[in-house]
Amino acid sequence: MSVDDTASGGAHPWPRLTLRLPLVMVLLALVVLFFLLDLVLGSVRIPLSSVVSILMGNGSDIEAWDKIVTYIRLPKAVTAVLAGAALSVSGLQMQTLFRNPLAGPSVLGISAGASLGVAMVMLASGSAANAFAIRQLGLGGSWLIVISATLGAACVLLVVLAIAVRIKDNIVLLIVGIMVGNITVSLISIWQYFSEPEEIQDYLIWTFGSLGGVLGNQLWVLAAVIGIGLLVSFAASKSLNVMLLGENYARSLGMSTFYVRVTVIAATSLLAGSVTGFCGPIGFIGIAVPHLTRSILDTSDHRFLMPGVCLMGALVMLVCDIIAQMPGSQTTLPINAVTALIGSPVVIWVIMKNRNLKSSFS
């Protein structure tokens, strides 16, 4: 049999394990295009030439445009890219770790933990309107929200990690994570039940998500944290590939499943926790983008999926942000509503068209 196969080698060339480079280049080009569009479009339309000129540091004819691009639109677009990449990569890791297509960054209760942190600060500050107003103005005061969200996420993470160390089975861990999330959510509803309507309103606005509140130093902090998270995730690609075989095979290949699990959970918390802290709980992206990317790149190899998912996540987030601004009008939509409203039909369409989602998990 082996002789036959060698003879027919010409008919069965060896498959190449490489990235589909043209597709990635297209993705990259689209990200750049929509990044620029995100700077151009909005309540005020600024010509592309002026935007480019401002980005080059030459400024434009109208001073207001300089300010709008430099202080409002550029940070928002950068945040969109960072948040999109971070949420998508953490979603990808959770889906692989738990071998579950419905897993996402929020599955371990990290987003719920961040929400609880924010809720508690709002409760403690009595009228949270103060803290929130400062945040809306883009001044340093919003660190309070960021830190409380991060602490909330970290607390839940520590609980989940402590359980992850004791439990060997990933499915059990997944269920425990969801339960911890539920406990957190119920704590929030108890808080809401006993709160004044104004406090709840502030909190609700936070849960709508916002890409526009990350300014100045915060953006650097967010970029640094996400950078670290992405580096750790990229480094875990090889191990995540082996995780596709299941934990038993992974162990038989000499992989420390414990180490990988802790690494992946820590990276996910950094990514999802920081984005939730700075931008509020943004749903949908983390679950959908990995599916979209797998479907388009037609692979499960994380060495190729990671960069693909980063680009796709950034792209989807930029598109959602552009739509949320309702170009030409003075209103904006909450980003959290847009991601699901616009994104879900697209994902349904792509998955129905390619029909290779199911095979990724069977």
Partner: protein
């Protein structure tokens, strides 16, 4: 070709379980050992295909897990190439011993080549980039398992038999002297079962691998195995199972194989090396004839509850005449009647009518 790769000395396998609180107080220890099998002294040699046989619950999987270092032994030791496995790191183990498990693999979007290449995990760098040598090993693994035809297909598009060969190729790519397989022929149809057995046998002989597989395919194991590790059923009172190791033919002849599987309603045929459903015979019938016709007529009669003895001197008997195209069965009812039948079906019908009357 026959240096010992894997050896166990007085190995005891099983589970360490937590005592109930009340028992822990009286015994002073919180854990107790539930021994599945003890005193195992086994040797696995290079180029040898070993089949691990035993009834369900006899500890086949426990033994495999213990030998693979996944589960701790309760006592004794396992040495792999003269080193004790409890002192080896998982990475070192991964270069000595590979596993093929029954776990379903959720990698539908990976092609066969990429999946086999995952076997190189213990050898590649931190990004898992394949070197020239790695690629060579992967290609060799794919070619020697005969799966080159679908090397670029997705795993989800493969049949169970093809998928099993891919998993064996993955173990081969791991480039280990020992390969262990947990029921690799389960869920496969007969041609695929034979194909997998043949493949494993070839890997053992041509590439000098030591292959251990657990299986319930008794007849295939008897045909293909160089050695059989036979685990008996554990006693009703929880006494650990006995284990014997030997050449398949030896185990059949000295009756130990029979002993391990002994149950009511089964009987082991030492001539054919297979188990038969035991039918309580109600009546004795004679059979005259030979060849395949006689064999299958005997089978049909036994299934219908007759004790079959050969020879024309029984008054109630069946005689087979003719061959190939012109077979004919005649049965003498022992009361002076002689009936001709043209096939086994009508013979059995006639016999049942007689029994009813």
């Amino acid at each position: 070709m026959n240096s010992a790769l894997l050896q166990t000395r007085d190995l005891e396998i099983g589970y360490r379980i937590r005592r109930p609180a009340s028992a822990a107080a009286t015994h002073g220890r919180r854990y107790m050992d539930r021994v599945v099998a003890g005193h195992l002294s086994l040797t696995l040699r290079q180029g040898e295909l070993v089949c691990l046989l035993g009834p369900n619950g006899s500890g086949k999987s426990t033994l495999m897990r213990t030998l693979a270092g996944v589960q701790k032994a309760l006592g004794g030791q396992v040495t792999l190439e003269d080193r004790e496995i409890s002192r080896m790191s998982p990475k070192e183990m991964a270069r000595k011993l590979s596993l093929v498990l029954t776990d379903r693999v959720a990698t539908g979007n990976l092609n066969v080549y990429a999946l086999v290449a995952l076997g190189r995990y213990p050898y590649t760098g931190w990004m898992g980039r394949l070197s020239e040598k790695d690629e060579e090993v992967v290609r060799h693994a794919i070619e020697s398992t005969g799966i080159r035809r679908f090397a670029s297909r997705h795993i989800s598009d493969l049949s169970d038999g093809e998928r099993q060969k891919v998993m064996i190729a993955r173990a081969l790519a791991q480039d280990t002297p020992v390969i262990m397989l947990d029921e690799p022929t389960a869920h496969l149809d007969l041609p695929n079962r034979i194909e997998v057995m043949r493949l494993l046998k070839e890997l053992a002989r041509k590439q000098g691998k030591a292959v251990v597989m657990s299986t319930h395919e008794l007849d295939l194991a008897l045909q293909a195995a160089d050695r059989i590790w036979l685990m008996g059923a554990p006693g009703r009172d929880g006494t650990p199972a006995d284990m014997v190791s030997g050449m398949p033919e030896e185990l059949v002849l000295d009756g130990r194989l029979e002993g391990a599987f002994k149950r009511n309603g089964f009987e082991f045929d030492r001539h054919s090396g297979s188990f038969r459903i035991h039918h309580e015979p109600e009546e004795t019938i004679g059979l005259v004839g030979d060849g395949a016709e006689a064999y299958w007529t005997r089978r049909a009669l036994e299934r219908k509850g007759f004790r079959v003895v050969s020879g024309p001197d029984i008054p109630f008997r069946v005689e087979i005449r003719g061959r190939e195209d012109e077979r004919a069965w005649t049965y003498v009812d022992g009361r002076g009647g002689v009936h001709d039948c043209c096939d086994i079906c009508s013979l059995i019908d006639a016999l049942e009518q007689r029994r009813g009357a």
